[in-house]
Symmetry: C2
Subunit: 293 residues, 2 copies
């Protein structure tokens, strides 16, 4: 069994980005600039945004954090999004989700100029990914692709089972694993809460990507000997023994599943760190105008 | 075994549309107007476009056919697309594919205003479908959904295997069969030329959707007893005994597969007639401005 070390790979990717940014700036080109809008004071969102700002520094990006209180109106937020769309200084930006209930997340996402949509959530980027055109691929799926690539894991013709059909992980992951490319060219099965034969499908998987958000859902008997297991779960399970009061828990029972795997990602330290680094990669592409002019 | 009669269903749907259009016009509303651009004289394209014009008549739509010779320039064609985008009289339009090699199909598709893109090929419509937002769903997948619905075929929790990963059938079909809806909620597997376990996957399918474009690819031993088989193949196989010189041939060996099925579509007369009727449904939605204002 080999542990997929997302933390180490993410550091490596950040260094690669930093090197490229230094070269760009050395050539007199503009330093890439990523902006983030954070609404309210949700604990998880605060943590993620702080990590993103820190990652920007590590990569040599300029970053801006724009804060609003939770009672900001939708119109006010949309107006700021439109301003960022027009602001030539800003190469790409994100609006940290979730948003307060009185604001339509979908409306916000669709108001972002798809050419600056480094989260890859705009329908144009989603559609272009499905068709196989250059686009911003959303962070978690892209991070998983990067891990498969860095560990040179064979995917062509393999049976890849994706657990979960969310718009931000399950569906794009399935789409990417079936495309004509590496990583890709896999036979892809998507299972979810309604699936009758979920256990059987898992047992046949060469590559199992668990993104249900159900702590400890994948048990040893569901995994084939020699499988590659990617755990996308990051549920905060209360844990009084920790200072934070919770423990990040994956969808896979790591202790019992790991011995059967050829490769497995831990939680934390697997997919998680790659997510932020994927956003940095998109920000670099935005800075270079590599996908859209 | 029950034959899925796409021809009969398509007639029924056309009558339903015609009734609704008559009511609209009776209320003094505008008659829906579908336009088609046809470039060159490809035999298949001529046939399809003629069938579309005829279907428009049956539905009570206004239709316009705009013809160009095969040597039209890309810029000339794009200019006409932009005109149709602006033309308030035209509710929706299609550009019949394939186009001559000197014209970028992708550029043409992306130039069409997504609000008039009744073929559902624009990245915005593809992306909205993937996310589960209202959109124009492309004709073949939508026609298959309609057949499943009209025959009240159970899909929730079932294993649905899609053969082929094309942008116009395989990928959208997979996306639709996994969404939280009826038809949908299926465990979906996409197989393709690179799949190692294709036969085994097919043998486990409750619903098998064959869209490889390989005549007679699906044989009896690949199909489970009681399966639902949807044959999307329509390859023109030379046949000297026919006036046309060819025979439309499906991806399924009908004679040997049919006895094992609970439901099966024939070729011709299965999915084919539904494709045009799905376009008519989108044209009606466009006329009613039901999806986009």
């Amino acid at each position: 069994m080999r542990l997929i070390d997302g933390k180490a790979i993410s550091e490596q990717v950040k260094q690669e980005i930093a090197k490229e940014v230094a070269e760009m700036v050395g050539r007199g080109e503009k330093r890439p600039h990523l902006a983030a809008i954070l609404v309210g004071h949700d604990g998880g969102s605060e943590t993620y945004v702080a990590a993103k700002v820190k990652a920007c520094e590590a990569c040599g990006f300029k970053s801006s954090l724009i804060r609003y209180e939770a009672d900001v109106t939708e119109e006010e937020l949309l107006a700021r999004v439109r301003e960022l769309n027009e602001d030539e200084e800003v190469d790409g930006f994100i609006v940290q989700l979730p948003l307060p209930k009185h604001i339509s997340e979908q409306k916000v996402i669709e108001t972002i100029d798809y050419r600056k949509d480094v989260d890859g959530f705009h329908p144009i980027n989603v559609g272009r990914m499905a068709i196989g055109l250059p686009c911003y691929i959303s962070a978690t799926p892209n991070g998983i692709l990067e891990l498969l690539k860095r560990y040179e894991i064979e995917t062509s013709g393999k049976k890849c089972v994706v657990l979960g059909r969310s718009n931000i992980v399950g569906k794009p992951m399935a789409s990417l694993m079936m495309r004509k490319a590496y990583p890709g060219d896999a036979t892809v099965t998507v299972c979810h809460s309604r699936s009758c034969d979920l256990v059987k499908e898992c047992q046949e998987a060469d590559i199992l990507i668990a993104a249900m958000g159900q702590p400890g859902f994948v048990k040893a008997e569901m995994v084939k000997e020699g499988a590659v297991v990617i755990d996308v779960g990051t549920t905060r399970v209360p844990d009084a023994t920790r200072k934070s009061g919770f423990k990040l828990t994956g969808d896979v029972k790591f202790d019992e599943v790991a011995p059967k795997c050829s490769y497995i990602t831990p939680v934390p330290g697997g997919v998680g760190p790659m997510t932020i680094v994927s956003l940095m990669k998109n920000a670099l592409l935005a800075g270079k105008k590599a996908i859209y002019k």
